[in-house]
C-alpha cells in the first residue's frame, strides 16, 4: 500500500534522512521507533507531503505521491495526525472535526453523519462538541486530533507521537483507540518514542537511528532484540560475567 524507497530529505544544509526504505501493507499496523532527532517526524512529514524529499521515491497504492501537495495526498486517503496535534484552538470540537473532512467536498448532512460516526469512537467528546478545542485537556485534544484525521476517511493513517505528553493511563486509551481503528481495516503508521506501547499494537516495526533504518522486523523480533530493549524499552541487561 505504501512503499518508501531509498528517500533522502533534510532542511537547508543538513540531511536528516539518508536512504530510508519501508513499506506498509493494506490494513497493517507498523511502527517506526527512534530517539529524538532520529528523523521520525521528518520521515512522516515527507510521506504526508509536508516536507519535500531530495531523492528516492514514495508510492501510495502503486502511484508516486512525492511532489504532490499535502492536500492531494489527503484526498487519496493518506492522512496524518501530526505531532503536537495542530488543532484549531478557537474553534469548537465540531468545527475541528468538520474541517477534517475538508478535502472531501461533501454535503453538510453527510459531514454531520460522519461526525456522529467518529464520536462513537470517542464517547467522551460527545458532550464537548461545542467546546473550544483549545480548552480541552491534552488527552481530549489528542482524541480530537485522531477524530479529525478519521474525518478524512483514511485508508492509511499516520500518527506522529500520539502518546507524547500524556499520562500513562491516557497512553493506554489512545493506543486502544488506534488498535480499534486498525481493526476497522485502516492501515496504521505509528511513529513513537514509547516503544513498549507501540510494539503491543503493531505487527511490524522499524528502528530509525541518525536518519537510517538500523533494525526492522516483526513486533516480537523487535521486543526481544537486545539493542531495542536497551535503547527503547529501558531494559538493562545483566552483565555477562
Amino acid at each position: 500500500m505504501l512503499e518508501v524507497s531509498d528517500i533522502t530529505a533534510g532542511y537547508g544544509n543538513s540531511t536528516v534522512l539518508t536512504g530510508v526504505s519501508l513499506s506498509i501493507e493494506r490494513g497493517e499496523a507498523v511502527t517506526v521507533l527512534g530517539a529524538n532527532g532520529a528523523g521520525k517526524s521528518t520521515l512522516i512529514q515527507a510521506i504526508a507531503g509536508l516536507t519535500p524529499i531530495r531523492g528516492g521515491e514514495i508510492r501510495f497504492e502503486g502511484e508516486r505521491i512525492h511532489g504532490l501537495s499535502a492536500a492531494r495526498i489527503v484526498r487519496r486517503g493518506l492522512v496524518l495526525c501530526p505531532e503536537g496535534r495542530h488543532l484549531f484552538p478557537q474553534m469548537s470540537v465540531r468545527e475541528n472535526l468538520m474541517l477534517g473532512a475538508y478535502s472531501h467536498k461533501i454535503r453538510r448532512s453527510a459531514i454531520a453523519a460522519q461526525i456522529d460516526e467518529v464520536l462513537e469512537i470517542f464517547p467522551a467528546l460527545k458532550e464537548k462538541r461545542t467546546v473550544y478545542a483549545g480548552s480541552l485537556s491534552g488527552g481530549e485534544q489528542q482524541m480530537v486530533a485522531i477524530g479529525r484525521a478519521l474525518m478524512a476517511k483514511p485508508r492509511l493513517l499516520l500518527l506522529d507521537e500520539p502518546s507524547l505528553g500524556l499520562a500513562p493511563l491516557l497512553v493506554q486509551t489512545v493506543m486502544r483507540v488506534v488498535g480499534e481503528i486498525n481493526q476497522r481495516g485502516i492501515a496504521i503508521g505509528l511513529v513513537e518514542q514509547n516503544a513498549a506501547a507501540a510494539l503491543e499494537l503493531v505487527s511490524r516495526g522499524y528502528v530509525l537511528e541518525a536518519g537510517s533504518v538500523v533494525i526492522q522486523g516483526s513486533a516480537q523480533e523487535l521486543s526481544s532484540d537486545d539493542r531495542v530493549r536497551a535503547a527503547y524499552l529501558g531494559v538493562v541487561e545483566q552483565a555477562a560475567d
Binding site: A70, P82, L87
Partner: protein, 288 residues
Amino acid sequence: MQVLANGLALGAIYALVASCLLLIFGILEIPDFALGGRIMVGGYAGYFVAENLGLHYWIAVVAAALAAGLLGVVSELAVYRWLRNTPRPLLSGFIGALVLLTATEITVQLLFTADFRKLPSPYESQILDFAGIRMTEQRLLAGVVALVLIAALHAYLRGTRGGRAMRATLEDRRGAEIVGISPAKTALIAMLLGSCMAGVAGALLGPMYLVYPTMGDAILIKGLIVIVLAGMRSSLGAISAALLLGIAESFGASYLSVGFSDAYAFIFLIIALMVRPNGLFTKSVLVR
C-alpha cells in the same frame, strides 16, 4: 451628536480597512502596506467610471472593487507568493509591500498626474437632517456600506466552508495544511477579498476626501493604528478601536483644530498605549 455621527461614519471606514489588513496579514503573514495603493486604485477606478464614462456611482463602486481586487491578486501571484518562500518572509514581505505601494502610487501619478479629483456621487449633494444631526447622504452611505461589508466578511468566515478554511489557516497553518487546505489558494482568496473591500473603501472616500495618488497612505496608517490599538489580533476589538478612533478624530477636528486632524490618531494611539500597552480590547491570554 453631530460630531459623534461624523466620527462613527469615518470610524466604520477605518474598521473596514483594518479588517482587510488583519485578514491579509493573518493569512499571508506579510504586512501588506500596498493595500493603501489598492484603496487609491479603487478611488481612481471609481473616478474613471463615474466621471469619464458617466456611469452611475454604484457601478463606480463595483468597478473600484474589481480593479483593486485584480491588483491584489496580481500582487499575490507576482510578488508576495515568491517573497513568502525567502529565508526571511516577514522582512522581505515588509520591503516588498513598501515597494509595491510606492510603485502603484508613482504609476498612477505618471498616468493621471497628482491633481486632486472629485469622484462624482449623487449622494454627496444630498444633506440629511435627522434629529438635529446633519450629514451628507454620502457620509451615511459610506459608514453603512463599510459596516455591511464587515458583517458580510464575518458571515463568510463563520458560516461557509471556505471561510472556515480561512479561519483554520489563521489559527494553525500547519493544521490547515494537514486537513488538506491549500495555503496558496487561501492566500489568493484572502488577497482578493481584502483588496476588493479596500477598493470599495477608496470609492466611498472619493466623493468626500477626493482622489489623488497618495490618498491611501493616511487611511492605511489609520488602519494600522487601529490594529495596534486593538492588540494585533482581535477583529471585533479592531472594529471598536476603529470607531473610537473615528470619534476621537471627529471631536479633535471640531473642538481643537481641523488642520491637525491626522495628528489626533497618533495622539490617541500614544495615550492608549500608555494606558493599555497590550491593546485596548485584549484580555490576558493564557499561553499553553
